[in-house]
């Protein structure tokens, strides 16, 4: 059977208008993703990581904060509640999704940290992909901060000058340095040599509790 087709000029015209508007705006919008696209020079990144130019030690970061390094932005990637419990002084909480989208300050020095350092390393990669050059992360994470800045255990054999500088730094942040006699302590990294010590995987909460108890 040959049957006529119903014509709907009103609806058809409306659809055409929607299509024109949708198409014209698409040309203006350009990309169907508002998210930023990142790109990385993998060779360059590999070189940076190998030369350990991607991260800072807790002591280095602490020194920057104490010396009021200009345009330093310390970013905490952990959850809200964890941030509220304790965070590095001067840090702001920015989840990874925000890191991917946030407006960037080209003159700033970004330092990212997380509990153990892995998420911060991922955030570092994201910012590098977004074109940021002055970005570092705390490789040992908050553990390292607590171990080396808030609760450093210094061997009694450490030179006096070094012990003094560590104590000064620790006190500045309200921490406490402990001098230990035995050899089974982690060496305290000197601000001068910048070497990184392996942080104890002690419970962050325990360390924070100890700090709290000390406070007035």
């Amino acid at each position: 059977m040959t049957v006529d087709a119903r014509r709907r000029p009103g609806i058809e015209r409306a659809l055409a208008i929607v299509a024109v508007v949708g198409g014209a705006l698409a040309v203006v919008a350009g990309s169907p993703t508002r998210a930023t696209r990142g790109s990385v020079d993998v060779t360059e990144l590999a070189r940076i990581v190998e030369h350990e130019e991607d991260h800072v030690t807790a002591v280095e970061l602490a020194t920057w904060i104490r010396d009021d390094k200009p345009r330093l932005r310390v970013l905490d990637i952990r959850a809200d509640s964890e941030f509220a419990d304790f965070h590095i002084p001067g840090a702001t909480r920015v989840p990874l999704a925000e890191i991917a989208r946030m407006p960037l300050d080209s003159a700033a020095t970004y330092v990212l940290y997380s509990e153990g350092g892995t998420h911060a390393a991922q955030g570092w990669f994201l910012l590098r992909a977004r074109g940021v050059k002055n970005v570092f992360f705390l490789r040992g994470g908050l553990y390292e901060w607590l171990e080396q800045v808030m609760n450093p255990r210094v061997a009694s054999t450490t030179p006096q000058a070094q012990r003094d500088s560590v104590r000064a730094l620790t006190l500045w942040f309200g921490g406490k340095m402990t001098v230990v006699d035995s050899a089974s302590t982690t060496t305290v990294p000197s601000v001068l040599d910048g070497a990184l010590s392996t942080p104890h995987k002690s419970d962050t909460r325990e360390s924070i509790k100890k700090i709290r108890r000390r406070a007035c």
Binding site: M1, A26, V27, G30, P32
Partner: protein, 205 residues
């Protein structure tokens, strides 16, 4: 991802549900095909004699609708475009296959999807076409070892028009909308021309 679409890709539901969805989507698909007269080979073939261009209007409208939907849902952050399946490009097989397919389309008057609609509504030619399709697939299957090399040649992966033309996605979208509307205007003109009888038309059933 705010919207979390495509939902199946994000593990929102399993295979069983996806099969139910397949049937439901198919029902809607079949419904609209029949509503548009695509289950009728005589109406459909009018496309190739420029008397009834419903095929062009229907297909292009569908493409433009879904295309705009994909763009704007992605732009709004509701859909992850990178997880949407883009049919791969195999230049030579798809051009040659297209030519052969088109010849069959004009001969049969229906395509694979619409043949099912035709058969469902009692059209014997739809059934014959389905039988032919099964035979054709079988022939291809048996011949595939021999022509496999050609069939797998000139692959370009999920190559898209924006990539090929070096234009932004949005520009291509806008361009296709413009082409579609132009095609629709042309189609209307051709149909009006076909309606003006050069000789008396038979009223046929």
């Amino acid at each position: 991802m705010i919207g979390g679409a495509p939902f199946y890709e994000f593990g929102r539901f399993g295979e069983g549900t996806s099969l139910v969805i397949a049937v439901l989507l198919g029902i809607a698909f079949g419904w609209f095909l029949e509503q548009g007269g695509m289950g009728n080979a005589r109406k459909l073939s009018g496309q190739f004699y420029l008397t009834d261009l419903s095929v062009l209007k229907l297909m292009f409208s569908a493409i433009v609708t879904a295309m705009l939907g994909l763009f704007w849902l992605s732009w709004a952050g509701l859909l992850d475009l990178s997880r949407v399946y883009v049919p791969e490009t195999f230049i030579a097989p798809q051009v040659v296959g297209g030519l052969i397919f088109g010849a069959g389309f004009a001969t049969g008057g229906l395509c694979p999807g619409t043949s099912c609609v035709a058969a469902a509504t009692g059209r014997k030619d739809g059934l014959a076409l389905i039988a032919g399709m099964l035979a054709g697939v079988f022939v291809f299957g048996e011949a595939s070892p021999a022509i496999g090399q050609f069939a797998d040649s000139t692959g370009r992966g999920a190559w898209t028009l924006p990539q090929a033309f070096g234009l932004s996605y949005g520009t291509v979208v806008g361009g296709i909308v413009a082409v579609a509307l132009g095609a629709f205007a042309g189609a209307e003109w051709l149909e009006r021309r076909a309606e003006r009888p050069a000789r008396p038309m038979k009223v046929v059933a």
